[in-house]
């Protein structure tokens, strides 16, 4: 039985998606990364509905959440996740360009587990993603139910 810890990346910007995926790949993390391109998609994934209705069950090990997204923004996703008894134990890392203190405060108020400002410098960015991935997807012992057992 192999345990694969899945990462949900909620990010609307294609460049950021590519940079983040590159950084995660660079970190040699074997985790599956699911990309949701807006807040609504992220919620669909978490609630197993819409195009994710048939996805394998189980919660992701961590959600990397951008704040400024179309349709449903990151703070709203965070609010719903932390208000839901089944989802609230999922670690949520806010990964955003915003240095605004208000966003930071609101994120923590809503129960974010970490708040990371994406560094402009690529090396720093790589470092940050690597640390995040290693900590939340590997070192952190996820709550029960977030582990996907794949046959093998």
């Amino acid at each position: 039985v192999t345990e694969i810890k899945r990462i949900l990346l909620a990010e609307d910007n294609a460049n950021d998606v590519e940079l983040t995926l590159t950084a995660l790949a660079d970190s040699n993390l074997a985790n599956e990364v699911v990309v949701a391109r807006d807040g609504a998609e992220a919620l669909d994934y978490l609630y197993q509905r819409g195009r994710y209705a048939a996805r394998p069950p189980g919660n992701p090990a961590v959600v990397l959440l951008d704040l400024k997204m179309p349709k449903v923004d990151g703070l709203e996703v965070l609010r719903q996740v932390k208000a839901d008894a089944d989802l609230k134990t999922i670690p949520v890392v806010v990964l955003t360009s915003s240095r605004e203190e208000l966003d930071l405060v609101r994120s923590y108020e809503l129960g974010a587990n970490a708040y990371v400002v994406k560094p402009v410098d690529f090396h720093e960015f790589l470092g940050a993603i690597k640390e995040l991935g290693v900590f939340w997807a590997v070192l952190n012992e996820p709550p029960p139910g977030s582990v996907l057992r794949t046959p093998g």
């Binding site: 910007n13 460049n15 950021d16 940079l19 590159t22 704040l67 400024k68 955003t96 360009s97 915003s98 240095r99 605004e100 203190e101 994406k118 560094p119 402009v120 410098d121 690529f122 090396h123 960015f125």
Partner: protein
């Protein structure tokens, strides 16, 4: 029998020799029978020599002469005829008033036999009357004087004084009315006073007048507008009371105060409006900062990220020039990132909430200085820290000021074999504390001093001294938010001194 008659009688012979007298007469004139009988009347009763206006003997003689000539009775008007007081009772004369009647007594032949002089002593009555009229005169005089005084006050009063009838007309106005409104008194009394009241104030004014007319009451602080001859209106504040069917009122011209108040109200309204506008602008600025923070940083990250990835992937295929281009792209993007971050911090600085407390500036300075000391490695830096007072400031923001100024001092004195940095306060000012940070660095030309504090304004090339040029702009903004000033003095190649002032808390002011 005659002698004991109750009246005052004197019987005179035609030659005015006293031939008989009643007891009552003797008592009234303080004389004795044996002293006056047989003597001439005017010898016994002369005029009071101390009264130069005495007319007693003259009038009596005239009356007696008429009686003797015409042989008919003669009633005299009330006479003042003073009576000699006996020496035994102090001498001199006593003031007396008499009402005399002289009657002839004729014999059978119709010849004059006697003249009977009958008098009534009316001294008491005259005195009472005199007293009465004296009092009346005194009262009249007092009243006149009081009226004069009231009249004088009435005419000199700066306030508008008036008496109005319940018929709605002014009855009496002091000169202040003419002066204040520009109408003559004649004009003012010729029309109902409400005609002069501003149309919008008329019904209120009529209400008040009605209240005064209804019963004797008092009205204070009633305000209305009165028409002036030039068509403008004056604001009057009234105090009035009614009595005896008249309204007594005093008004004060408060037009200037009123206009000043109006002006203040107007300014306040405008200020509130501006503040509201400012709130909107601030909100917009916040939204702007947010989008700068988020939207401008993302593409920069992409520029650096993708150029790094390109370099990694194609490094072998690129020559040195191409690699230099790539690194310039990355470096520029990073610089832009710094600029954006600085701009945001500057805008945050303006909005950050301030929490002012009493701070030990000496402690704060040495704390910041120790931090820098740890970072400057083996550079030779001489610190001169003077005595610094306590100040009232936000600790985090003031720390930022010191970090900026000390970091500048270190940066711009970096080329000296030995940096000298002095931090101290100027000798005591009465209402503000002035702190300076002085270095022995490159200094600057005073012509450009104002550029120092501008956002992203720099006096040195990026290659010579790194930095975005936000530090001093932040310093000035923070100090200004504390109610102080920030300024600088410098000489090219001879160091610079940066000053900032902070207002002293009220209790510390000398």
């Amino acid at each position: 029998l005659f002698e004991s008659a109750p009246g005052l009688y004197l019987v005179l012979a035609p030659d005015l020799t006293i031939v008989a007298v009643s007891e009552a007469y003797l008592r009234a004139t303080m004389t004795k029978r044996d002293e006056i009988l047989g003597r001439r009347l005017f010898d016994v009763f002369p005029d009071n020599p101390d009264d130069p206006t005495a007319t007693g003997t003259h009038n009596l003689r005239t009356s007696l002469d008429l009686v003797r000539r015409d042989r008919v009775a003669n009633a005299m008007a009330i006479q003042k005829y003073d009576i000699r007081r006996p020496e035994s009772e102090g001498g001199g004369f006593e003031e007396r008033f008499w009402s005399p009647l002289n009657s002839p007594v004729l014999n059978a032949n119709g010849e004059l036999e006697y003249v009977i002089h009958r008098v009534e002593d009316v001294t008491e009555i005259v005195r009472l009357k005199q007293l009465d009229s004296d009092q009346r005169r005194l009262a009249d005089e007092l009243r006149t004087r009081a009226e004069d005084e009231i009249g004088r006050f009435f005419s000199v009063s700066l306030d508008l004084l008036c008496i109005a009838g319940l018929d709605g007309y002014f009855k009496l106005l002091n000169p202040a009315w003419e002066k204040t409104l520009g109408f003559t008194t004649d004009e003012l009394v010729s029309r109902p006073f409400v005609d002069f009241v501003h149309p919008e104030d008329r019904s209120r004014t009529a209400d008040q007048a009605g209240k005064l007319a209804a019963d004797e009451t008092q009205i204070v602080d009633f305000v209305n507008r009165y028409l002036c001859a030039d068509g403008s209106y004056k604001w009057l504040v009234w105090k009035a009371r009614s009595a005896h069917g008249l309204i007594y009122a005093a008004a004060r011209d408060v037009t200037d105060e009123r206009l000043a108040q109006e002006e203040i109200r107007h300014l306040n309204a405008e200020l509130e409006h501006r503040v509201a506008d400012l709130g909107v602008v601030n909100k917009e600025l916040e939204a702007f900062s947010y989008s700068v923070s988020h939207d401008l940083r993302a593409p920069l990250r992409h520029v650096t990220g993708f150029s790094e990835m390109l370099e990694k992937r194609a490094a072998g295929a690129l020559d040195d020039t191409a690699r230099r281009y790539l690194s310039t792209i990355s470096e520029s993007a990073r610089q832009m990132g710094r600029l954006i971050d600085d701009l945001l911090s500057f805008s945050r600085m303006a909005r950050a909430e301030m929490r002012e407390t009493r701070l030990d500036l000496s402690m704060l300075v040495s704390e910041v200085q120790r931090e820098f000391q740890g970072r400057i490695g083996n550079r030779d830096v001489v610190w001169k820290l003077g005595h610094l007072p306590h100040v009232q400031a936000d600790p985090a923001l003031l720390r930022l000021v010191l970090v900026n100024l000390i970091s500048n001092a270190l940066k711009y004195s970096g080329m000296r074999p030995r940096s000298e940095i002095e931090i101290a306060a100027l000798p005591n000012g009465s209402d503000e504390t002035v702190v300076f940070v002085r270095d022995n660095g490159v200094g600057f030309d005073m012509r450009y001093v104002e550029k120092l504090f501008g956002v992203f304004q720099r006096l040195h090339r990026q290659e010579d001294f790194e930095g975005t040029g936000i530090g001093l702009a932040n310093v000035r903004r923070i100090i200004q938010r504390h109610g102080g000033r920030a300024w600088a003095e410098g000489v090219p190649d001879a160091g610079a001194t940066f000053f900032f002032s902070l207002p002293k808390p009220k209790e510390d002011q000398a």
